[in-house]
Subunit: 342 residues, 4 copies
Amino acid sequence: MIILMNKNTTQEQIDRVIEWISSAGYKPHLSQGVERTLIGAIGDDRGRIHLKSAAFLPGVENVIPILKPYKLAGREFREDNTVVRVGDVRIGGGEFVVMAGPCSVESEEQMMECGYVAKKAGARILRGGAYKPRTSPYSFQGMEEEGLMLLKKVGDKMGMPVVTEVMNTVDVDLVESYSDILQIGARNVQNFALLKKVGRSCRPVLLKRGMMTTIEELLMSAEYILSEGNEQIILCERGIRTFETATRNTLDISAVPVLKELTHLPVIIDPSHASGHAKYIIPLTRAAVAVGANGVIVEIHPEPEKAMSDGPQSLRPEQFYQLMDEVNLLSNAMHRRIEGVQ
Amino acid sequence: MIILMNKNTTQEQIDRVIEWISSAGYKPHLSQGVERTLIGAIGDDRGRIHLKSAAFLPGVENVIPILKPYKLAGREFREDNTVVRVGDVRIGGGEFVVMAGPCSVESEEQMMECGYVAKKAGARILRGGAYKPRTSPYSFQGMEEEGLMLLKKVGDKMGMPVVTEVMNTVDVDLVESYSDILQIGARNVQNFALLKKVGRSCRPVLLKRGMMTTIEELLMSAEYILSEGNEQIILCERGIRTFETATRNTLDISAVPVLKELTHLPVIIDPSHASGHAKYIIPLTRAAVAVGANGVIVEIHPEPEKAMSDGPQSLRPEQFYQLMDEVNLLSNAMHRRIEGVQ
Amino acid sequence: MIILMNKNTTQEQIDRVIEWISSAGYKPHLSQGVERTLIGAIGDDRGRIHLKSAAFLPGVENVIPILKPYKLAGREFREDNTVVRVGDVRIGGGEFVVMAGPCSVESEEQMMECGYVAKKAGARILRGGAYKPRTSPYSFQGMEEEGLMLLKKVGDKMGMPVVTEVMNTVDVDLVESYSDILQIGARNVQNFALLKKVGRSCRPVLLKRGMMTTIEELLMSAEYILSEGNEQIILCERGIRTFETATRNTLDISAVPVLKELTHLPVIIDPSHASGHAKYIIPLTRAAVAVGANGVIVEIHPEPEKAMSDGPQSLRPEQFYQLMDEVNLLSNAMHRRIEGVQ
Amino acid sequence: MIILMNKNTTQEQIDRVIEWISSAGYKPHLSQGVERTLIGAIGDDRGRIHLKSAAFLPGVENVIPILKPYKLAGREFREDNTVVRVGDVRIGGGEFVVMAGPCSVESEEQMMECGYVAKKAGARILRGGAYKPRTSPYSFQGMEEEGLMLLKKVGDKMGMPVVTEVMNTVDVDLVESYSDILQIGARNVQNFALLKKVGRSCRPVLLKRGMMTTIEELLMSAEYILSEGNEQIILCERGIRTFETATRNTLDISAVPVLKELTHLPVIIDPSHASGHAKYIIPLTRAAVAVGANGVIVEIHPEPEKAMSDGPQSLRPEQFYQLMDEVNLLSNAMHRRIEGVQ
């Protein structure tokens, strides 16, 4: 951490900052510029939010953090990519993994159709919502435990691991008993009690970025899970909120190479929530393959116009088959590139 | 809801939309423009998110909702202002109510000093955090139940009602037993399980807008609480996230007149979290009085440079006394205006 | 345009709105819902900004525009893709066109090296800035006419058409005499005087989206150019400003399929300004190919650490050769897809 | 400027950075932390954008600027408030200055009515647009020179100085000959050619913040004008673009105290463009007085429903009289405060 003193700072103020740094357990380091005095606080400043209080000392203009605030999530802690294993699927290895299924589990018939299509097309993980975070209390809130049962039943039948969202600490044990992966939704990315709870689970966690979460904050949320002992985390970029309204959210495609640089955790993309329109999902999935993501999670529905949630962004079966064809084509081209280069 | 057909729509497509509207329980109403056909769906469209699936029907260009999605929170449901009562304090009546206290309860001594300053200066409600939502798992997470006890003890001593944040459904009963008002923090504004839980409490709820929440979504979150039966809600604007980094968040001061128009619920402002710097809090509090807010909630600390959280945005006692002087001066001027005009 | 009346509207208010619509040259169309009255204004509402004044009539709750505000830029006006021709290069046809060169023209030697690398690697258009829009008046402002001459000289030598930015109406004639394409920069996307001026030029225009411009506003800026008679426009997505600071701007990759749906104009991506870091440009260019853009414009420099502007986002020659290899690989894969499908 | 080396940096890389700093004319200063090496570049780093190229040197993780990039606009350059004088009006002194008039000059009659209302209510400066920056080429573009003449005629008659927008460098001389203040609109805040041109004018400049402009960038735009010699600048906060759509833009009220801290230039607020709705303008103007702004600029119209631009946000005469009453009441209260305190 570096403390920048203002232009007319006095020796007395500098002395007080130096004393304050020492009393906080850091080693002060003075650096005199032409116009400004800087005072470094040497030591591990990961508890830096407390250190920010230095901004309050007389003569201080600004406090500038130097180290990244996360540790376990960072490439410095672990250089090699983490590979998350679920059944025989490996996320974060060479394969581009497609997760697919309906937004909400609505009935056994609907779930079976989705499972059949997902399997036939080559998806590796089956998704389906049983607890739905809906903006309106009057909207369909999900089938809850019955939904979990149907999801697992279809997953078992198709031989596919399943993923579903858990929204409340009290539901974690139940969801864990049905689902192979626990999803933390965008609205709960900073529900710290929930992060701690899934951090003590033995199930892998699919952690979605919130619509106003910075990449650094996403990694801090992963750090909550990691610091409780669970290292099986898949990060998911699903669009951020901006001024643009042509799409539901703005897919931050650059988050993939940025995260690949900063963290060892696998990164997937959710083009369905990012765009909010089925018609944009295939090109965005192609972009996900090309940019180097480890997979996508997409919503499909046998009859989107009858979906109880997220109909406009759900792919029909024939659209999903086309998506998988294009994924395969580009994945193959990318692999040839990788083999050629390395 | 209005369904806009695209330019080259066919009669068959129009017929299918009309049929779909009828089957969804609405009455279709056709309107032929020069370039476009519009089809209205007459009926209460508050479950409109499902209706949005119409976007998927062939020939449909766009689906435009007409009614506001909330009901109980709206002025149409209740024209008169809701006044929230806590002890002898009335929030949403004529008085500008100041809530003050430390970000975190840190010790009995610190809490007593804050309580003394708050009381002496004329604050009406005492705040203090016992469960802290921290971005980093390595930061101070709050004193939990011990913090609750200290907060209540000081509140009782000073004769002031208290407010504190509850972050997890499993803590609601405990927090309720100590605190006069339950605060839902910005990061939990769409933690729907928590909203439902406090909706069944008999305590008033202070609901903070999230940094990524639209005004409409904030009202939908209030609707979750209202629909469970709890009508004692105070809304709080605390800054939204934008591209500007000179302040921690961007205080959306216009949210006050917008909310006053849309809802009967009282609205306060949190200038501490909005700006993130103590030096901006007094002018922003003056703006809160002038724009017509029902109060503010501010952070104070006897020694901000030693605070365990949010030091840079906490007011020293002498700054808080000045803030209260200015609040009183402007409140009086505003009252003279109101009496003069009405 | 649709006018939504508020709940307790009176017949008198409705009559006044109907009269107002007629006097504005539209045909009114009344539609009575369960809770609300809607009044349509039938006719071409492209002058709708004026129509929005209806919001001021008593009893009106909201005014909802129906038609898109652009005409010449839209797919409805021209269904087939516009192909922009510059020399023997066709932008918007099947080829993925790479434009490359330095941020600023700095010297003949530097420009020659860039031209050599661009040509050798397979770029089709040479870029180079002569007038630089710099945030600071103390930063290098470009070589102006000397820069234009050097750019053209190198372009001629390499047999490549050139593109450069024009910032001021009074410079258009001069820039036009040297450059094959006129670039309108992000900061001038709503400099309407400049748009009108280049709209009367016979040179193609590369129109960059502003960092806070919506897709609709970008198309309205294109409409300014089109309405003056110049139909040779290339749109360029170059990142929008959001709360995320890990990249310089946030590349809105979804803008490509959205624009492809709405307009017939070609769309390219500028990954250099979008990300601000050379290390992210190759993966983002791959994404540009995969998502269906018509090309990219990228910054290269023989020695980025000595660049007078935008050094951190300029590619070294060897990085640019790699970029072109990957573009070719993915373009080929995409073409096989297109041929297979169509 | 501080250069942060990455974790595994080598001595060779450090040496190269030190050499690079020296060759760029700065003095290097090494600082060894526990985990990281920092290298300061001592000297005036206002040309820091070029210095950022250091990010490209091997082993460099990040480059952190220390000094603010503006000089003449800063409080360090001039501690006392700049007072802009126009006729007998002083902006930036003790008075809260109201500027009012129509969005567009539409006719002599309309302009006369606006002038009469503005004068009678106590506004000090008359506004009126002759060149209008419209999103659509099909919207009314202003009366141009005829509008300028009418504006000046009415200003002369009422004995009020006038302000109007200039959009193009070639129009500056003409506008200057009619208008007492030159307004630079939000869309031209980074039209650097225009900034330089008005920087050489002897007229005061009203510089509006762009909807995508940071506070620092606004000050850099002021720096362009100042560096050409014109020191008579009034800054204007007029709302920034965010995800919230309940208002046209989001008024960044905190920009006032932030700017008051950073710069000596006067700061006013434009509540009309910030909110986009007449109904919110009075409370926002009260907030402007209370937060410490030096004035407001508001749009008025005798019949807003007939306005050729910005009707929905224009105040009727009776609303404007009420606004002035409230301004006077709060200004007086604020003055009593200032006199009491100082």
